[in-house]
């Protein structure tokens, strides 16, 4: 190595080292979340993107002794960015058995406070068993069974293991499993999203999202991707659990320049720079477990098929129901077990009720559907007036006790009136029994009276397309448009244009009436026309005044006055005026036409 090369390397480090301070984060993890009394486990606080951090020396948890054991630093370089990882390791020594929560605590990094997550830790009693592999829980069954993975001892870059909490399980019992895939922390790359796992004779629940943590195995720091799920065996006998696999694309440190191997071994190098990319498949080792059949002795007749540990509670709503109104009996079964294979609880003392198969809903409180609560809702309609709901009975097999258990719920007070249409309870009406279970169909608790229970629509045609609906809406539309038309006409009539139009019509009518008028009413109509045309009201004097005030030529005004005077004469002359001769009528009509023409201009 020449001095020039060394200078280049130091220059590169001088540029890269400050990049250590990019995104700071704190993660915390336990080497195992289960242990026995006296068995130490490691609690690791991993700090990224910082050169130092202030962490507490001890943590106070009653029943656990937790103290800081040491600190290690590691540099990583990915995509030409260098980051440092500090790992603070605490030793956790359980003092007593029980369920513990290691509380969250503060980690100070350059003046900023980061808070870790709280963790649950389970400690069981009994003698300590020899540790098969550092980090393995003591009360689980490590796979492969036997010695720890040789790969781990030899500091291999990756290996996998399957953790089962039991070696002997019952048919239908749900057993949590954990798949752990270990990668040496110096290896970069991409890890598949989900492992591949499954086989004959057992069912597998969906996998949880991967949990990533750091773990020291035999002195080597590993990044562990952990997937949780649960399996349930479907038949008795020896169950072969095949290998679980996870595909990954890894970057291994490659050949480094001669003489610099020790130096570069401290840095996982970016792709293409002294690295070797490989597609690898991590595999757990196959294993066998023993599946026990559910005992026949003591099996309740109404055994629901549930295997696990459960509690039950019930409620009813509404508390008061009028005739024919249903009440809803809600039964919640909570705990741990095979919720998927669980049948509904049985109603007891339900003779006075008509009930239907319940709806059910499962709410899981963990990622794999092992723990949670299943709610069954029974719709009930009283056949006779009722003051109490039916009772509830639920049976299950408890694998930890190795026997069947029965939970019962006493009837709940309710005030339900009998439906008027409900038929009386027929003697011998069959009630739901577990004997009906083999049928894939749920059988109602009591036979429903279909004629009485008929509900919903009695037509395949939506109301939209039914003739009566269309006719009714068409009628409404016609009425609406008619009303719109009437209102529009009224509005127009009251407008200036409307009024003008009406007046013109009156004038036209008045003029045409004048032509056809008899001799006794000719002048009456002629005067009316002048009234309208001049827009004058009142008597002849008012009309005369209107004529005088108009801008008509004087001789034309005189002609109009003459028509008004003739009206007076024909109206008030003693013995009546002689009928106007045809020439006079023509002359009057000519005057009025001229009046019209003058006003039109």
């Amino acid at each position: 190595m020449t001095g020039k090369t060394m200078k280049r390397i130091f220059a590169m480090l001088a540029v890269l080292l400050p990049l250590c301070l990019h995104a700071q984060e704190v993660a915390v993890g336990l080497s195992s979340n289960q242990a026995q009394v006296g068995e130490p486990v490691q609690l690791m606080v991993t700090v990224r993107g910082a050169r130092g951090a202030d962490v507490p020396q001890t943590l106070s948890v009653k029943g656990l002794q937790i103290s800081l054991a040491g600190r290690s630093t590691q540099f990583e370089m990915r995509n030409f960015k260098m980051s440092s990882t500090l790992t603070y390791t605490y030793l956790v020594v359980p003092q007593s058995e029980g369920e513990f929560t290691i509380p969250s605590f503060d980690v100070q990094i350059e003046g900023k406070t980061f808070r870790t997550q709280a963790m649950r830790f389970s400690v069981s009693g009994g003698t300590r068993v020899p540790q098969q592999m550092p980090g393995f829980p003591q009360n689980t069954v490590p796979v492969p069974s036997g010695p720890p993975p040789a790969s781990a001892d030899a500091g291999e870059p990756f290996f996998a293991e399957l953790i089962l909490s039991k070696k002997k399980v019952y048919v239908g019992e749900v057993v949590p499993v954990e798949l752990r895939f270990y990668f040496n922390s110096r290896i970069g790359g991409q890890v598949g999203e989900r492992p591949s796992f499954g086989g004959e004779g057992f069912t597998v629940q969906k996998f949880s999202n991967a949990v990533k943590r750091e773990q020291i195995v035999n002195g080597t720091n590993y990044t562990v991707f952990s997937f949780q799920s649960a399996i349930a065996a479907v038949k008795a006998g020896t169950l072969e659990i095949p290998e679980a696999t996870l595909d990954s694309r890894l970057q291994f440190p490659g050949k480094t320049p001669q003489g610099l191997g020790d130096f570069f071994n401290n840095f996982p190098l970016p792709q293409g720079m002294f690295t070797d990319n490989r597609e690898v498949t991590l595999k757990t080792k196959p294993m066998q477990i023993e599946i026990l059949p559910l005992p026949k002795d003591g099996r309740p007749e109404d055994f629901s098929g549930a295997v696990g540990k459960f509690a039950m509670e019930a409620s009813v709503s509404p508390k008061k129901a009028s005739a024919g109104e249903p009440v809803n009996l809600k039964v919640t079964v909570s705990g741990q077990g095979n919720f998927e294979g669980m049948g509904a609880p049985l109603l007891t003392g339900d003779e006075g009720w008509r009930s239907y198969p319940p709806s059910d809903k499962f709410q899981s409180t963990d990622a794999v559907g092992f723990t949670g609560e299943k709610t069954f809702e029974f719709p009930l309609i009283a056949r006779q007036d009722q003051t109490r709901t039916p009772g509830v009975r639920f049976s299950f097999f408890d694998p930890s006790a190795g026997k069947y258990s029965v939970l019962t719920q006493d009837p709940i007070e309710v005030d339900a009136k009998a439906g008027g249409a409900a038929p009386p309870v027929a003697a011998g009406t069959p009630a739901l029994s577990r004997g009906d279970k083999p049928s894939p169909m749920p059988t109602p608790v009591s036979t429903p009276d279909v004629t009485a229970a008929a509900g919903g629509s009695t037509s395949w045609v939506s109301l939209f397309f039914r003739r009566e609906f269309v006719i009714a809406n068409a009628s409404m539309a016609v009425a609406w448009f008619a009303m719109l038309l009437i209102l529009s006409l009224r509005r127009f009539a009251s407008s200036r244009a409307g009024r003008e139009l009406a007046r013109k019509k009156l004038l036209r009518d008045a003029f045409s009436g004048l032509r056809d008028a008899g001799s006794d009413e000719f002048y009456e109509k002629a005067r009316d026309y002048i009234y309208l045309r001049l827009n004058a009201g009142g008597d002849d004097l008012a009309v005369a005044a209107r004529i005088d005030s108009s801008s008509l030529p004087p001789e034309f005004k005189a002609s109009l006055h003459r028509v008004i005077e003739r009206h007076g004469e024909t109206k008030y002359a003693a013995g009546g005026a002689p009928p106007p001769p045809v020439e006079e009528r023509q002359a009057v009509i000519s005057i009025l036409k001229e009046l019209e023409a003058r006003y039109e201009k």
Binding site: P430, P440, M441, P448, A453, S462, F469, M476, M483, S488
Partner: protein
């Protein structure tokens, strides 16, 4: 008068005959004569308007005879008529489990129809719509509060349109109008084109639901549960809503 009496009497006789048939069907079911019971329910449905309860009972009887797919069809029909009929929903789930049909996550439409009767919602929407239309029209009257009437009318109109739109989007009698169920034993094959020799792209197990898009001869073109489309034979494909 005489003819009216005769009509009433005939109607009463019809109802009585139907009730007898249903009672008989129910009794036969209790006695374990499931096939006879199913036949009587089918006869009752042929002679009377459709009823969710009768379709449910028919489904139960068919299920007892091992005809899960036909049972599922009738449970679905019961749910189309009465989406709030919880026993039919449970029974359909069980039948689907027996058929190996994976459960489908219910959309918001299913949740709406389970809670609100569609016909009532349609009527309410229509009343609001026309109420809004007429109140809005009253704003044309030359009286006080014209603006308020217009605003109230528009709000009612919008409310009515919204309710009717919800019905349009949710009512299974509208949304499932082109949906069918695969009754064929062993399911049916989906092909890339309407020919026996064309490439098989998928298989539809018995009890599957498909959305029919078009028909060419003895082939349906439809959308499969996963969203893919393809051609399949019309034999054994039964519309959920029976043809009129």
């Amino acid at each position: 008068m005489k003819s009216s009496l005769i009509v009433v009497l005939l109607l009463l006789l019809g109802f009585s005959a139907r009730a007898d048939m249903l009672s008989d069907a129910s009794a036969r079911f209790q006695d374990g004569e499931y096939e006879q019971s199913a036949k009587l329910y089918e006869q009752s449905l042929e002679k009377s308007p459709p009823s969710a309860a009768v379709f449910f009972e028919l489904g139960r009887a068919l299920n007892k005879t091992g005809q899960e797919a036909r049972a599922a069809l009738n449970f679905r029909r019961a749910l189309i008529l009465d989406p709030r009929f919880a026993p039919a929903r449970s029974a359909l789930q069980e039948a689907n489990v027996a058929l190996g049909i994976p459960p489908v996550k219910q959309g918001w439409q299913a949740q709406v129809v389970e809670r609100i009767p569609m016909d009532s919602l349609t009527l309410a929407g229509t009343v609001f719509f026309w109420g809004g239309a007429f109140v809005g029209l009253a704003a044309f009257l030359p009286t006080a509060f014209r603006k308020r009437r217009l605003v109230a009318g528009l709000l009612l109109l919008l409310l009515g349109i919204s309710l009717v739109s919800v019905v349009w989007l949710c009512d299974p009698r509208v949304t499932l109008a082109n949906t069918a169920l695969v009754l064929t034993n062993g399911g049916t094959s989906v092909r890339s084109s309407p020919a026996d020799q064309s490439e098989k792209t998928a298989s539809l197990p018995q009890g599957s639901i498909v959305n029919l898009l078009s028909q060419r001869g003895r082939w349906f073109y439809g959308q499969l549960p996963g969203g893919a489309k393809g051609w399949f034979l019309t034999e054994g494909i039964v519309p959920l809503i029976p043809p009129a």
